[in-house]
């Protein structure tokens, strides 16, 4: 492939790629995101390859391994095009049937279809699955259609057309103007207007400017950036090149966690392909604009997702933040003007250029435009990645898309914004999700993690869990974050162990205020959020722990007790066998008893008892 040297060259390439694409041709796509890898998609793909070869169908059928479809709960996912038949939880044993029935006879293999739990109906097409119905997948949607290691797949769907347009038809300031008008805000957590950030960086004094893609995703349960980089790396590269042109930068970095090997691999391949096509490095599309991208792998410290810590780490220094009184757009990497955006933000850029800012800004709410990708995890039926328009309600996300809470349990709270986000209660389920509304509740958008909790969740325990995470991940540089989180965790631990005292809640609030106000970076600045929101919305649970020495959700081991209901116990002995402490005794067919002194509250007896004779209080 010779390098593209003009828009005409690029159009010729588009034509030649499109010629090889027949929309009516049969294509089996197998999701190869990390979630589906865990379910064994590689073996499924291999089985399809062999089956197609054995039946001599190579000329008629394509097999494509794609990026993540988002519905990770149901992997491995296989979609047959052009009919868009959606098969879920496909195993190697199912492959022969899919080929013989669907590929050869156009019949549906019923057992692999998704069944709507509410209606009991089988659903054939992906778009009709409730999980996808309310989504608007303008950023994430192409993941399911392209092979992330094929630049031609991306170009066939209109990829790099935005870049060609920008380099040949737009001036840098026009690009910034479009991004400003679109209303795009940073998807990494802060929500700062992207166009303005670019403008600040462009106008800052300095000879060199840098552009960084922050792919140091670290929130527990969040994996949208990973899926974008793994599934559609060219969209991120295209966004970065456009941004670099607008800002006037010739050097970019992708800072990605080393724990994301597939993302590193796919983005490395993508950079290589873009170079070969003349879409990176020197004289991009013959426009005279130069820009190169290097990949830096992070060592896995959560705090390195913070922009100044990330830049320190990129420079080879200790990954800890510095004060941002002078912003990184003025003095960032090696003290040069630096523009850092998150993976998802970059991926929004080509879409805005292609579709126009008016189209983009019609999606969303007054101050939050476009869509947001959330990772929906926890006590939810449909675990996965979802892309929804800003302004959708939490209720729609959790019940319509997420399919509600498993086992018919009651919803209790949803934690948004990662470990430093907050827990939002049932009373606020109709909240319309955008940057401002989430902040008003005391939580935040963050990078888009959503952890759903059911009635069996103890909110004090949840606050303790997140504080424990933050204690481990604070860099330890400043006193309020390092010592304050430690102190808050000590108090929370005391409360969950039944040693809470009157005044502990007020002490937690006092600490929270000072930690939030005086910490050096946003990690400490937001660390008290889980504590403050659980106190705000679930204060009764704190009171029960402190005053009544009771854990209402029955989670905190020190505050629960197991006993045996002698009326119900049949003396079957099942509990005796599973008790690791030999705490249960009794004669056969006679009611048993439980020795509290020996009990370690593991709950094994409760699980095994068929007569509901074990009581947890």
């Amino acid at each position: 492939m010779s390098k593209i040297k003009s828009t005409e060259d690029f159009e010729k390439l588009q034509e030649s790629v499109n010629k090889t694409r027949d929309p009516e041709r049969l294509c089996i796509t197998v999701c190869s995101g990390t979630g589906c890898h865990a379910y064994g998609c590689e073996k499924v793909t291999q089985a399809f390859v062999e089956e197609i070869r054995n039946r001599d169908l190579q000329d008629k059928v394509d097999i494509r391994t794609t990026g993540c479809h988002g519905f990770c709960e149901r992997g491995p996912i296989v979609v047959i095009h052009p009919q868009e038949v959606f098969y879920q939880r496909v195993k190697v044993e199912d492959v022969a049937d899919v080929v013989s029935e669907t590929i050869l006879k156009k019949n549906i293999v019923d057992r692999l279809l998704y069944v709507d739990p509410n209606t009991g109906k089988q659903i054939i097409c992906e778009k009709d699955v409730p999980f996808y119905k309310k989504q608007r997948r303008i950023i994430f949607g192409n993941n399911a259609l392209i092979d992330p290691t094929s630049i031609d797949d991306y170009i066939a769907l209109g990829g790099y057309a935005a870049l060609s347009k920008v380099l040949w038809e737009m001036k840098p300031l026009e690009v910034i103007d479009v991004i400003k008008k679109s209303g795009l805000r940073g998807r990494g957590g802060g929500g700062f207007p992207t166009g303005r950030k670019w403008e600040f960086c462009r106008n800052a004094e300095g000879d060199r400017r840098y552009v960084i893609c922050n792919a140091d995703e670290g929130d527990p349960g969040a994996y949208m950036d990973r899926s974008l980089l793994e599934g559609n790396p060219h969209s991120v590269l295209e966004g970065m090149i456009i941004g670099a042109y607008a800002i006037g930068s010739h050097q970019g970095f992708i800072y990605v966690r080393n724990e994301y090997p597939l993302a590193v691999k796919n983005v490395t391949i993508a950079i290589q392909q873009a170079r070969e096509y003349g879409l990176l490095d020197r004289d991009i599309i013959g426009s005279g604009f130069d820009f190169e991208i290097k990949i830096t792998r992070g060592g896995g410290a959560f705090v390195c997702g913070e922009s100044t810590a990330l830049m320190a780490s990129l420079e080879g220094k200790l990954g800890e933040p510095r004060a941002k009184y002078v912003h990184t757009v003025e003095k960032g990497l090696w003290d040069n003007p630096t523009n850092l955006n998150n993976v998802e933000t970059w991926a929004n850029v080509p879409v805005i250029i292609n579709k126009g800012w008016q189209w983009y800004s019609d999606i969303g709410t007054e101050h939050s435009k476009g869509t947001k990708i959330f990772s929906l995890v926890g006590k939810i039926n449909n675990t996965g990645l979802i892309e929804v328009p800003m302004g959708i309600s939490l209720r729609e996300i959790i019940f319509d898309i997420g399919g509600g809470i498993p086992e018919g349990k009651k919803f209790k709270a949803v934690q948004t914004g990662g470990p430093s986000g907050g827990c939002i209660p049932e009373s606020l389920l109709d909240l319309l999700v955008d940057f401002e509304k989430l902040t008003e509740t005391g939580s935040m958008m963050g990078s888009g993690g959503m952890i759903v909790m059911d009635e069996d969740t103890c909110m004090v325990d949840v606050a303790k869990y997140f504080l424990n995470f933050l204690k481990e991940e604070s860099c330890g540089k400043c006193v309020p974050c390092r010592e304050g989180i430690r102190a808050m965790l000590e108090i929370l631990t005391r409360i969950t162990e039944g040693e809470g005292e009157e005044g502990d809640v007020e002490l937690l609030q006092e600490l929270s205020e000072v930690v939030a106000e005086t910490s050096l970076c946003a990690l400490g600045g937001t660390a008290p959020n889980p504590v403050l929101t659980t106190i705000k919305y679930f204060r009764d649970e704190y009171e029960a722990h402190i005053k009544e020495k009771r854990c209402p959700a029955g989670v905190c081991p020190a505050l629960i007790q197991y006993s045996i209901d002698t009326e119900r116990c049949t003396g079957c002995g099942a509990c005796v066998k599973v008790c690791p402490q030999e705490a249960i005794s009794g004669q056969r067919k006679q009611p048993h008893s439980l020795d509290q002194a020996k009990c370690i509250k593991c709950g094994a007896c409760l699980e095994v008892c068929k007569f509901e004779a074990v009581i947890k209080r």
Binding site: L318, K477, R482
Partner: protein, 250 residues
């Protein structure tokens, strides 16, 4: 030059001068444990927290590294500042309950028993030692290791560092006396870093005066007369005085 207000005093200052320097000139004392005028501000202890009002919005910032800006109003002793400072002192006290400098601050700010634990760490992790070793000495023998509550200052791999020249700048700056420096029988020991360095004997009086490694380090970087590396400062002073006296000018 910009004009700003600190505790009611209107002052002119070079743009981007750290607030703590401007306050110092006005005779306003702002407590700090991690700031030193010879080093880059680091902003870790947060004791120098002050309140800055900018465009009608008040927020807490650290005076050691907040740059002077036109029109800002700074309060160094507002109720909000004192409240924050007191809690920071309480947190420090709960880490290093026996450190004299912390006890004195607690006394000054009326902080009693810490309400959350009573640790007996001696290091407050202010980073003065790390920064002087890197920024002034240039040896980079010590650094921060680990994260969060496990953070500590140490040599690489927690073993004696070849880079440590035993100069003792770290011990000199440590506000809690956590770094002990001892010269015993011709050897300088800094126990915290496992440093053990032979001392140079003065060719005149025979007293030990500096680690050989430190003298070598300086010799390699600066073009100085040999006697500086052979004779102790006292003897050198004496010998200069004698030379001057011999010239008959005194």
């Amino acid at each position: 030059m910009v004009s700003l207000t600190i505790d009611g005093n209107v002052v002119q200052a070079e743009e981007r001068t750290p607030l703590i320097k401007i306050a110092e000139k006005l005779g306003i004392r702002i407590p700090t444990l991690c700031y030193h005028p010879a080093l880059e501000p680091y902003g870790t202890c947060r004791l120098c927290t002050v309140e800055v009002v900018k465009k009608g919005r008040a927020r807490l910032v650290t005076a050691c590294n907040y740059p002077a800006e036109e029109g800002i109003v700074v309060h160094t002793k507002s109720e909000r500042v004192i409240k924050a400072r007191k809690l920071i002192i309480e947190l420090l006290l709960s880490r290093c309950s026996k450190a004299k400098v912390i006890q004195e601050l607690a006394e000054e700010y009326g902080v009693k028993e810490p309400r959350f634990g009573e640790g007996d760490e001696d290091c407050i992790l202010c980073g003065l030692c790390v920064r002087v070793c890197s920024e002034i000495v240039g040896a980079n023998a010590i650094s921060f290791t680990s994260r969060g509550i496990d953070r500590e200052v140490s040599t690489p791999f927690h073993i004696a560092s070849e880079e440590c020249i035993g100069c003792g700048a770290c011990a000199y700056l440590c506000p809690t006396d956590a770094i002990k420096l001892e010269d015993i029988k011709g050897t300088r020991k800094i126990e915290r870093w496992d440093t053990s360095r032979p001392l140079q004997r003065c060719s005149i009086c025979g007293n030990y005066f500096a680690p050989v490694a430190q003298l070598e380090y300086i010799k390699n970087r600066l073009n100085l007369p040999e006697e500086i590396f052979q004779n102790c400062p006292n003897c050198r002073r004496k010998s200069y005085a004698e030379q001057v006296a011999a010239l008959g000018h005194i």
